[in-house]
Protein backbone atom coordinates (compact mmCIF):
# COMPACT_ATOMS: atom_id res chain seq x y z
CA UNK A 1 0.00 0.00 0.00
CA UNK A 2 1.49 3.29 -1.09
CA UNK A 3 0.05 6.78 -1.16
CA UNK A 4 0.82 8.92 -4.14
CA UNK A 5 1.41 12.31 -2.56
CA UNK A 6 1.29 14.05 -5.94
CA UNK A 7 -2.13 12.58 -6.43
CA UNK A 8 -3.09 13.52 -2.87
CA UNK A 9 -2.02 17.08 -3.44
CA UNK A 10 -3.80 17.24 -6.79
CA UNK A 11 -7.03 16.00 -5.27
CA UNK A 12 -6.72 18.47 -2.40
CA UNK A 13 -6.27 21.28 -4.89
CA UNK A 14 -9.19 19.99 -6.90
CA UNK A 15 -11.45 20.02 -3.84
CA UNK A 16 -10.24 23.47 -2.84
CA UNK A 17 -10.98 24.75 -6.34
CA UNK A 18 -14.39 23.11 -6.12
CA UNK A 19 -15.04 24.78 -2.76
CA UNK A 20 -14.09 28.16 -4.21
CA UNK A 21 -16.14 27.69 -7.38
CA UNK A 22 -19.24 26.42 -5.62
CA UNK A 23 -19.05 29.22 -3.08
CA UNK A 24 -19.15 31.61 -6.05
CA UNK A 25 -21.79 29.95 -8.21
CA UNK A 26 -23.97 28.14 -5.67
CA UNK A 27 -23.72 28.89 -1.97
CA UNK A 28 -23.41 32.68 -2.11
CA UNK A 29 -26.11 33.32 -4.78
CA UNK A 30 -28.62 31.06 -3.09
CA UNK A 31 -27.84 32.42 0.38
CA UNK A 32 -28.02 35.96 -1.01
CA UNK A 33 -31.41 35.21 -2.54
CA UNK A 34 -32.65 33.86 0.78
CA UNK A 35 -31.26 36.87 2.66
CA UNK A 36 -32.74 39.27 0.10
CA UNK A 37 -36.16 37.69 0.39
CA UNK A 38 -35.93 37.71 4.18
CA UNK A 39 -34.97 41.38 4.09
CA UNK A 40 -37.77 42.14 1.68
CA UNK A 41 -40.17 40.18 3.82
CA UNK A 42 -39.03 42.10 6.89
CA UNK A 43 -39.50 45.38 5.02
CA UNK A 44 -42.90 44.29 3.81
CA UNK A 45 -43.83 43.20 7.32
CA UNK A 46 -42.57 46.52 8.70
CA UNK A 47 -44.50 48.42 6.07
CA UNK A 48 -47.54 46.28 6.73
CA UNK A 49 -47.24 46.96 10.45
CA UNK A 50 -46.93 50.68 9.81
CA UNK A 51 -49.88 50.54 7.47
CA UNK A 52 -51.80 48.51 10.01
CA UNK A 53 -50.95 51.07 12.68
CA UNK A 54 -52.20 53.83 10.39
CA UNK A 55 -55.28 51.80 9.62
CA UNK A 56 -55.87 51.19 13.32
CA UNK A 57 -55.48 54.91 13.99
CA UNK A 58 -57.84 55.73 11.14
CA UNK A 59 -60.24 53.10 12.41
CA UNK A 60 -60.11 54.60 15.89
CA UNK A 61 -60.75 58.06 14.51
CA UNK A 62 -63.52 56.73 12.32
CA UNK A 63 -65.02 54.96 15.31
CA UNK A 64 -64.88 58.16 17.34
CA UNK A 65 -66.36 60.13 14.44
CA UNK A 66 -69.06 57.56 14.02
CA UNK A 67 -69.79 57.70 17.73
CA UNK A 68 -70.03 61.50 17.42
CA UNK A 69 -72.31 61.13 14.46
CA UNK A 70 -74.40 58.66 16.41
CA UNK A 71 -74.65 61.06 19.32
CA UNK A 72 -75.49 63.96 17.01
CA UNK A 73 -78.05 61.86 15.21
CA UNK A 74 -79.54 60.77 18.52
CA UNK A 75 -79.67 64.39 19.67
CA UNK A 76 -81.28 65.46 16.38
CA UNK A 77 -83.69 62.57 16.60
CA UNK A 78 -84.61 63.48 20.18
CA UNK A 79 -85.02 67.13 19.20
CA UNK A 80 -87.14 66.19 16.21
CA UNK A 81 -89.15 63.85 18.40
CA UNK A 82 -89.65 66.59 20.98
CA UNK A 83 -90.66 69.05 18.23
CA UNK A 84 -93.01 66.50 16.75
CA UNK A 85 -94.52 65.80 20.15
CA UNK A 86 -94.90 69.52 20.80
CA UNK A 87 -96.42 70.06 17.36
CA UNK A 88 -98.71 67.08 17.79
CA UNK A 89 -99.75 68.30 21.22
CA UNK A 90 -100.38 71.77 19.82
CA UNK A 91 -102.33 70.36 16.91
CA UNK A 92 -104.17 68.03 19.25
CA UNK A 93 -105.00 70.87 21.61
CA UNK A 94 -106.11 73.05 18.73
CA UNK A 95 -108.17 70.20 17.33
CA UNK A 96 -109.60 69.50 20.75
CA UNK A 97 -110.42 73.17 21.25
CA UNK A 98 -111.90 73.34 17.78
CA UNK A 99 -113.85 70.18 18.43
CA UNK A 100 -115.03 71.52 21.74
CA UNK A 101 -116.03 74.76 20.03
CA UNK A 102 -117.82 72.83 17.32
CA UNK A 103 -119.41 70.67 19.97
CA UNK A 104 -120.45 73.71 21.97
CA UNK A 105 -121.80 75.35 18.83
CA UNK A 106 -123.60 72.16 17.99
CA UNK A 107 -124.98 71.99 21.50
CA UNK A 108 -126.07 75.60 21.23
CA UNK A 109 -127.61 74.93 17.85
CA UNK A 110 -129.27 71.82 19.19
CA UNK A 111 -130.45 73.76 22.23
CA UNK A 112 -131.74 76.57 20.09
CA UNK A 113 -133.34 74.14 17.72
CA UNK A 114 -134.81 72.25 20.64
CA UNK A 115 -136.11 75.48 22.11
CA UNK A 116 -137.44 76.55 18.76
CA UNK A 117 -138.95 73.13 18.23
CA UNK A 118 -140.40 73.20 21.70
CA UNK A 119 -141.78 76.68 21.05
CA UNK A 120 -143.13 75.52 17.75
CA UNK A 121 -144.59 72.48 19.41
CA UNK A 122 -146.03 74.66 22.12
CA UNK A 123 -147.45 76.99 19.55
CA UNK A 124 -148.88 74.11 17.59
CA UNK A 125 -150.15 72.53 20.77
CA UNK A 126 -151.70 75.78 21.89
CA UNK A 127 -153.23 76.31 18.46
CA UNK A 128 -154.49 72.78 18.47
CA UNK A 129 -155.81 73.13 21.99
CA UNK A 130 -157.44 76.40 21.11
CA UNK A 131 -159.03 74.87 18.07
CA UNK A 132 -160.20 71.95 20.15
CA UNK A 133 -161.48 74.36 22.76
CA UNK A 134 -163.18 76.43 20.07
CA UNK A 135 -164.79 73.31 18.63
CA UNK A 136 -165.95 72.25 22.07
CA UNK A 137 -167.14 75.70 22.96
CA UNK A 138 -169.13 75.88 19.76
CA UNK A 139 -171.30 73.05 21.09
CA UNK A 140 -171.89 74.96 24.31
CA UNK A 141 -173.27 77.99 22.48
CA UNK A 142 -176.78 77.84 23.89
CA UNK A 143 -179.26 80.25 25.52
CA UNK A 144 -177.73 79.71 28.95
CA UNK A 145 -174.30 80.65 27.69
CA UNK A 146 -175.70 83.54 25.81
CA UNK A 147 -177.42 84.87 28.95
CA UNK A 148 -174.21 84.52 30.90
CA UNK A 149 -172.33 86.49 28.24
CA UNK A 150 -175.11 89.11 28.33
CA UNK A 151 -174.79 89.51 32.07
CA UNK A 152 -171.00 89.70 31.79
CA UNK A 153 -171.38 92.38 29.10
CA UNK A 154 -173.73 94.33 31.29
CA UNK A 155 -171.34 94.02 34.23
CA UNK A 156 -168.41 95.17 32.05
CA UNK A 157 -170.41 98.20 30.90
CA UNK A 158 -171.23 98.92 34.50
CA UNK A 159 -167.59 98.70 35.45
CA UNK A 160 -166.62 101.25 32.78
CA UNK A 161 -165.94 104.81 33.95
CA UNK A 162 -169.00 106.94 33.75
CA UNK A 163 -167.39 109.28 31.26
CA UNK A 164 -166.51 106.46 28.94
CA UNK A 165 -170.02 105.03 29.28
CA UNK A 166 -171.55 108.39 28.52
CA UNK A 167 -169.28 108.92 25.52
CA UNK A 168 -170.18 105.51 24.24
CA UNK A 169 -173.85 106.11 24.71
CA UNK A 170 -173.66 109.45 22.96
CA UNK A 171 -171.80 108.20 19.93
CA UNK A 172 -173.73 109.54 16.92
CA UNK A 173 -173.10 106.42 14.88
CA UNK A 174 -174.58 104.22 17.58
CA UNK A 175 -173.20 100.94 18.79
CA UNK A 176 -173.08 97.47 17.37
CA UNK A 177 -173.81 94.29 19.26
CA UNK A 178 -172.02 91.33 17.65
CA UNK A 179 -172.91 87.77 18.41
CA UNK A 180 -171.73 84.42 17.00
CA UNK A 181 -175.22 83.43 15.97
CA UNK A 182 -178.35 85.23 15.27
CA UNK A 183 -179.86 86.26 18.54
CA UNK A 184 -183.39 86.14 17.14
CA UNK A 185 -185.97 86.52 19.83
CA UNK A 186 -183.34 87.47 22.41
CA UNK A 187 -182.52 90.76 20.67
CA UNK A 188 -185.20 92.74 22.57
CA UNK A 189 -184.05 91.54 25.93
CA UNK A 190 -180.41 92.16 25.02
CA UNK A 191 -181.19 95.67 23.75
CA UNK A 192 -183.16 96.51 26.80
CA UNK A 193 -180.45 95.44 29.29
CA UNK A 194 -177.70 97.20 27.34
CA UNK A 195 -179.79 100.39 27.08
CA UNK A 196 -180.23 100.16 30.79
CA UNK A 197 -176.53 99.60 31.45
CA UNK A 198 -175.51 102.45 29.19
CA UNK A 199 -178.19 104.76 30.37
CA UNK A 200 -179.71 105.03 26.91
CA UNK A 201 -178.23 105.18 23.42
CA UNK A 202 -179.20 106.41 20.00
CA UNK A 203 -179.09 103.20 18.02
CA UNK A 204 -178.21 99.54 18.63
CA UNK A 205 -177.50 97.29 15.64
CA UNK A 206 -177.24 93.54 15.83
CA UNK A 207 -174.70 91.65 13.65
CA UNK A 208 -173.33 88.13 13.64
CA UNK A 209 -169.74 87.00 13.49
CA UNK A 210 -169.18 83.22 13.69
CA UNK A 211 -165.60 83.84 14.65
CA UNK A 212 -166.75 84.82 18.11
CA UNK A 213 -167.69 81.16 18.77
CA UNK A 214 -169.97 82.37 21.48
CA UNK A 215 -170.60 85.65 23.29
CA UNK A 216 -171.71 89.21 22.85
CA UNK A 217 -169.40 92.06 21.96
CA UNK A 218 -170.06 95.75 21.98
CA UNK A 219 -168.42 97.65 19.16
CA UNK A 220 -168.36 101.28 18.17
CA UNK A 221 -166.14 103.13 15.69
CA UNK A 222 -163.77 103.98 18.45
CA UNK A 223 -164.36 101.29 21.07
CA UNK A 224 -164.76 97.56 21.34
CA UNK A 225 -165.79 95.69 24.42
CA UNK A 226 -164.67 92.08 23.97
CA UNK A 227 -166.93 89.57 25.56
CA UNK A 228 -166.65 86.28 23.68
CA UNK A 229 -164.87 82.98 23.78
CA UNK A 230 -162.90 84.03 20.72
CA UNK A 231 -161.58 87.01 22.66
CA UNK A 232 -160.92 84.78 25.64
CA UNK A 233 -159.08 82.27 23.43
CA UNK A 234 -157.12 85.13 21.90
CA UNK A 235 -156.03 86.21 25.35
CA UNK A 236 -155.22 82.62 26.23
CA UNK A 237 -153.13 82.28 23.05
CA UNK A 238 -151.32 85.49 23.87
CA UNK A 239 -150.71 84.39 27.42
CA UNK A 240 -149.38 81.02 26.24
CA UNK A 241 -147.22 82.75 23.69
CA UNK A 242 -145.85 85.11 26.30
CA UNK A 243 -145.26 82.25 28.67
CA UNK A 244 -143.25 80.37 26.02
Amino acid sequence: MTIDFWGLGLQAVNVLILVWLLSRVFWRPVAAAIAKRQKTAQEVIGSAKATQAKADTALTEATKARAGIEEERAAMRDAAKADAETASKTILNEARAEAEAILAAAKDTISHDAIAARKANDAQASELSLKIAARLLERLNGPTVQSVFLSQLVDAIADMPAADRKALASDPKGIEIVSATDTGAEQGKIEKEIQTALGGTREIRFTTDPNLIAGLELRSPHFTLHNSWAADLTQVRKAVKDAA
Partner: protein, 237 residues
Protein backbone atom coordinates in the same frame (compact mmCIF):
# COMPACT_ATOMS: atom_id res chain seq x y z
CA UNK B 1 -9.38 -7.12 -10.31
CA UNK B 2 -6.87 -4.56 -9.21
CA UNK B 3 -6.06 -3.99 -5.55
CA UNK B 4 -8.21 -1.21 -4.08
CA UNK B 5 -5.14 0.07 -2.29
CA UNK B 6 -3.32 0.78 -5.53
CA UNK B 7 -3.97 3.71 -7.85
CA UNK B 8 -2.86 3.33 -11.43
CA UNK B 9 -1.89 6.47 -13.34
CA UNK B 10 -3.53 6.72 -16.71
CA UNK B 11 -1.12 9.40 -17.84
CA UNK B 12 1.11 12.09 -16.40
CA UNK B 13 0.98 15.88 -16.54
CA UNK B 14 4.54 16.64 -15.68
CA UNK B 15 5.11 14.99 -12.36
CA UNK B 16 1.42 14.71 -11.67
CA UNK B 17 -0.09 11.27 -12.18
CA UNK B 18 -3.58 11.52 -13.63
CA UNK B 19 -5.56 8.59 -12.29
CA UNK B 20 -9.11 7.42 -12.83
CA UNK B 21 -10.03 9.09 -9.52
CA UNK B 22 -8.67 12.44 -10.70
CA UNK B 23 -10.56 12.25 -13.96
CA UNK B 24 -13.73 11.34 -12.14
CA UNK B 25 -13.14 14.21 -9.72
CA UNK B 26 -12.78 16.64 -12.58
CA UNK B 27 -15.98 15.34 -14.11
CA UNK B 28 -17.81 15.72 -10.80
CA UNK B 29 -16.39 19.23 -10.42
CA UNK B 30 -17.53 20.15 -13.91
CA UNK B 31 -21.00 18.75 -13.31
CA UNK B 32 -21.40 20.50 -9.95
CA UNK B 33 -20.04 23.86 -11.09
CA UNK B 34 -21.79 24.00 -14.45
CA UNK B 35 -25.00 22.65 -12.95
CA UNK B 36 -24.87 25.16 -10.10
CA UNK B 37 -24.17 27.98 -12.54
CA UNK B 38 -27.08 27.01 -14.73
CA UNK B 39 -29.42 26.53 -11.80
CA UNK B 40 -28.54 29.78 -10.04
CA UNK B 41 -28.49 32.10 -13.06
CA UNK B 42 -31.90 33.61 -12.42
CA UNK B 43 -32.76 33.97 -8.75
CA UNK B 44 -36.09 35.72 -8.23
CA UNK B 45 -37.58 37.28 -5.15
CA UNK B 46 -40.48 34.87 -5.42
CA UNK B 47 -38.92 31.42 -5.83
CA UNK B 48 -40.09 28.80 -8.28
CA UNK B 49 -39.75 25.07 -7.81
CA UNK B 50 -36.11 25.06 -8.95
CA UNK B 51 -35.09 27.94 -6.70
CA UNK B 52 -37.11 26.53 -3.82
CA UNK B 53 -35.23 23.24 -4.11
CA UNK B 54 -31.88 25.04 -4.15
CA UNK B 55 -32.87 27.14 -1.16
CA UNK B 56 -34.02 24.00 0.62
CA UNK B 57 -30.53 22.54 0.18
CA UNK B 58 -28.85 25.68 1.53
CA UNK B 59 -31.33 26.05 4.37
CA UNK B 60 -30.93 22.41 5.38
CA UNK B 61 -27.17 22.80 5.35
CA UNK B 62 -27.39 25.94 7.47
CA UNK B 63 -29.72 24.18 9.87
CA UNK B 64 -27.33 21.27 10.24
CA UNK B 65 -24.40 23.63 10.87
CA UNK B 66 -26.36 25.58 13.47
CA UNK B 67 -27.63 22.44 15.20
CA UNK B 68 -24.12 20.98 15.23
CA UNK B 69 -22.11 23.99 16.25
CA UNK B 70 -24.57 26.68 17.28
CA UNK B 71 -22.46 29.11 15.26
CA UNK B 72 -23.31 31.43 12.37
CA UNK B 73 -23.36 29.12 9.36
CA UNK B 74 -22.13 31.66 6.80
CA UNK B 75 -18.32 31.16 7.25
CA UNK B 76 -18.56 27.37 7.17
CA UNK B 77 -21.33 26.91 4.64
CA UNK B 78 -19.20 26.80 1.50
CA UNK B 79 -16.54 24.43 2.87
CA UNK B 80 -18.80 22.02 4.77
CA UNK B 81 -21.49 22.08 2.11
CA UNK B 82 -19.03 21.48 -0.71
CA UNK B 83 -17.44 18.61 1.19
CA UNK B 84 -20.87 17.02 1.66
CA UNK B 85 -21.94 17.50 -1.96
CA UNK B 86 -18.63 16.33 -3.41
CA UNK B 87 -18.43 13.21 -1.24
CA UNK B 88 -22.12 12.40 -1.87
CA UNK B 89 -21.81 12.73 -5.64
CA UNK B 90 -18.51 10.89 -5.61
CA UNK B 91 -19.98 8.03 -3.57
CA UNK B 92 -23.03 7.79 -5.80
CA UNK B 93 -20.93 7.86 -8.96
CA UNK B 94 -20.28 4.18 -8.35
CA UNK B 95 -23.77 3.53 -9.66
CA UNK B 96 -22.62 4.48 -13.16
CA UNK B 97 -21.21 1.38 -14.80
CA UNK B 98 -17.47 1.56 -15.36
CA UNK B 99 -16.99 4.52 -13.03
CA UNK B 100 -15.01 4.01 -9.85
CA UNK B 101 -15.81 6.62 -7.19
CA UNK B 102 -12.90 8.89 -6.29
CA UNK B 103 -13.62 8.33 -2.60
CA UNK B 104 -12.78 4.67 -3.07
CA UNK B 105 -9.14 5.67 -3.55
CA UNK B 106 -6.62 6.49 -0.86
CA UNK B 107 -5.45 9.79 -2.30
CA UNK B 108 -8.87 11.44 -2.51
CA UNK B 109 -9.92 10.48 1.01
CA UNK B 110 -6.51 11.45 2.35
CA UNK B 111 -6.78 14.76 0.54
CA UNK B 112 -10.20 15.39 2.09
CA UNK B 113 -8.85 14.52 5.54
CA UNK B 114 -5.89 16.82 5.03
CA UNK B 115 -8.25 19.60 3.97
CA UNK B 116 -10.29 19.10 7.12
CA UNK B 117 -7.11 19.17 9.20
CA UNK B 118 -6.00 22.39 7.52
CA UNK B 119 -9.47 23.90 7.77
CA UNK B 120 -9.49 23.29 11.52
CA UNK B 121 -6.26 25.24 11.74
CA UNK B 122 -7.55 27.96 9.40
CA UNK B 123 -10.86 28.50 11.14
CA UNK B 124 -9.20 28.21 14.57
CA UNK B 125 -6.64 30.86 13.75
CA UNK B 126 -9.21 33.07 12.04
CA UNK B 127 -11.56 32.85 14.99
CA UNK B 128 -9.18 32.97 17.92
CA UNK B 129 -5.85 34.10 16.51
CA UNK B 130 -2.70 32.03 16.51
CA UNK B 131 -2.42 32.22 20.27
CA UNK B 132 -5.98 31.23 20.81
CA UNK B 133 -5.62 28.35 18.41
CA UNK B 134 -2.49 27.10 20.11
CA UNK B 135 -4.11 27.51 23.52
CA UNK B 136 -6.95 25.32 22.33
CA UNK B 137 -4.56 22.41 22.64
CA UNK B 138 -4.22 23.21 26.36
CA UNK B 139 -7.93 22.65 26.98
CA UNK B 140 -9.03 21.75 29.54
CA UNK B 141 -5.50 21.91 31.07
CA UNK B 142 -1.92 21.89 29.79
CA UNK B 143 -1.50 18.25 30.71
CA UNK B 144 -3.77 17.43 27.79
CA UNK B 145 -1.52 19.11 25.20
CA UNK B 146 0.15 15.89 23.97
CA UNK B 147 -3.14 14.09 23.85
CA UNK B 148 -4.85 16.96 22.05
CA UNK B 149 -2.10 17.10 19.45
CA UNK B 150 -2.34 13.35 18.96
CA UNK B 151 -6.12 13.63 18.81
CA UNK B 152 -5.99 16.30 16.12
CA UNK B 153 -4.03 13.92 13.94
CA UNK B 154 -5.83 10.71 14.71
CA UNK B 155 -9.33 12.07 14.31
CA UNK B 156 -8.72 13.19 10.74
CA UNK B 157 -6.95 9.92 10.11
CA UNK B 158 -9.99 8.07 11.41
CA UNK B 159 -12.20 10.13 9.09
CA UNK B 160 -9.93 9.24 6.18
CA UNK B 161 -9.92 5.53 7.02
CA UNK B 162 -13.66 5.43 7.72
CA UNK B 163 -14.61 7.02 4.43
CA UNK B 164 -12.08 5.00 2.47
CA UNK B 165 -13.05 1.74 4.13
CA UNK B 166 -16.79 2.13 3.68
CA UNK B 167 -16.70 3.27 0.08
CA UNK B 168 -13.90 0.99 -1.03
CA UNK B 169 -15.49 -2.02 0.64
CA UNK B 170 -18.80 -1.33 -1.03
CA UNK B 171 -17.23 -1.03 -4.45
CA UNK B 172 -15.07 -4.07 -3.81
CA UNK B 173 -17.97 -6.21 -2.63
CA UNK B 174 -20.12 -5.16 -5.58
CA UNK B 175 -17.25 -6.00 -7.95
CA UNK B 176 -16.72 -9.42 -6.39
CA UNK B 177 -20.43 -10.26 -6.41
CA UNK B 178 -20.84 -9.02 -9.96
CA UNK B 179 -17.90 -11.10 -11.13
CA UNK B 180 -19.19 -14.21 -9.37
CA UNK B 181 -22.98 -14.09 -9.61
CA UNK B 182 -23.94 -12.05 -12.61
CA UNK B 183 -25.25 -8.67 -13.65
CA UNK B 184 -28.44 -8.19 -11.57
CA UNK B 185 -27.35 -9.82 -8.33
CA UNK B 186 -25.40 -6.81 -6.95
CA UNK B 187 -28.43 -4.52 -7.25
CA UNK B 188 -29.42 -4.87 -3.56
CA UNK B 189 -25.84 -4.20 -2.60
CA UNK B 190 -25.81 -1.13 -4.85
CA UNK B 191 -28.97 0.12 -3.14
CA UNK B 192 -27.25 -0.39 0.16
CA UNK B 193 -24.25 1.43 -1.23
CA UNK B 194 -26.52 4.42 -1.95
CA UNK B 195 -27.44 4.59 1.70
CA UNK B 196 -23.84 4.03 2.78
CA UNK B 197 -22.64 6.82 0.48
CA UNK B 198 -25.22 9.25 1.87
CA UNK B 199 -24.46 8.36 5.46
CA UNK B 200 -20.71 8.60 4.98
CA UNK B 201 -21.01 12.00 3.30
CA UNK B 202 -23.17 13.21 6.15
CA UNK B 203 -20.81 11.79 8.80
CA UNK B 204 -17.73 13.28 7.14
CA UNK B 205 -19.31 16.73 6.87
CA UNK B 206 -20.71 16.69 10.39
CA UNK B 207 -17.44 15.50 11.90
CA UNK B 208 -15.54 18.18 10.04
CA UNK B 209 -17.95 20.78 11.42
CA UNK B 210 -17.63 19.35 14.92
CA UNK B 211 -13.84 19.43 14.79
CA UNK B 212 -13.78 23.01 13.53
CA UNK B 213 -16.33 24.15 16.08
CA UNK B 214 -14.61 22.43 19.00
CA UNK B 215 -11.33 24.07 18.11
CA UNK B 216 -12.89 27.51 17.81
CA UNK B 217 -14.83 27.06 21.06
CA UNK B 218 -11.77 25.74 22.89
CA UNK B 219 -9.78 28.79 21.75
CA UNK B 220 -12.50 31.16 22.91
CA UNK B 221 -12.76 29.27 26.23
CA UNK B 222 -8.99 29.59 26.75
CA UNK B 223 -9.23 33.33 26.02
CA UNK B 224 -11.92 33.76 28.64
CA UNK B 225 -9.96 31.77 31.19
CA UNK B 226 -6.77 33.78 30.66
CA UNK B 227 -8.47 37.20 30.74
CA UNK B 228 -7.54 39.34 33.80
CA UNK B 229 -10.03 39.20 36.61
CA UNK B 230 -11.89 42.44 37.35
CA UNK B 231 -10.59 44.43 40.26
CA UNK B 232 -12.70 44.37 43.44
CA UNK B 233 -13.40 48.10 43.11
CA UNK B 234 -14.61 47.78 39.53
CA UNK B 235 -18.32 47.92 39.26
CA UNK B 236 -20.20 45.58 37.05
CA UNK B 237 -21.71 47.19 34.03
Amino acid sequence: MNSPLDSIALFYLGPLPITQAVLTTWAIMAILVIGSYLLTRRMDLVPGKRQAALELIVTTMDTQIVETSGANPAPYRAFIGTLFMFILVANWSSLIPGVEPPTAGLETDAALAVLVFLSVIWFGVRGDGIGGYLKSFAAPNPIMIPLNILQSLTRVFSMFVRLFGNVMSGVFVIGIVASLAGLLVPIPLMALDLLTGLVQAYIFAVLAMVFITSTVEDGQHSKRNTAPAPSPNQKDT
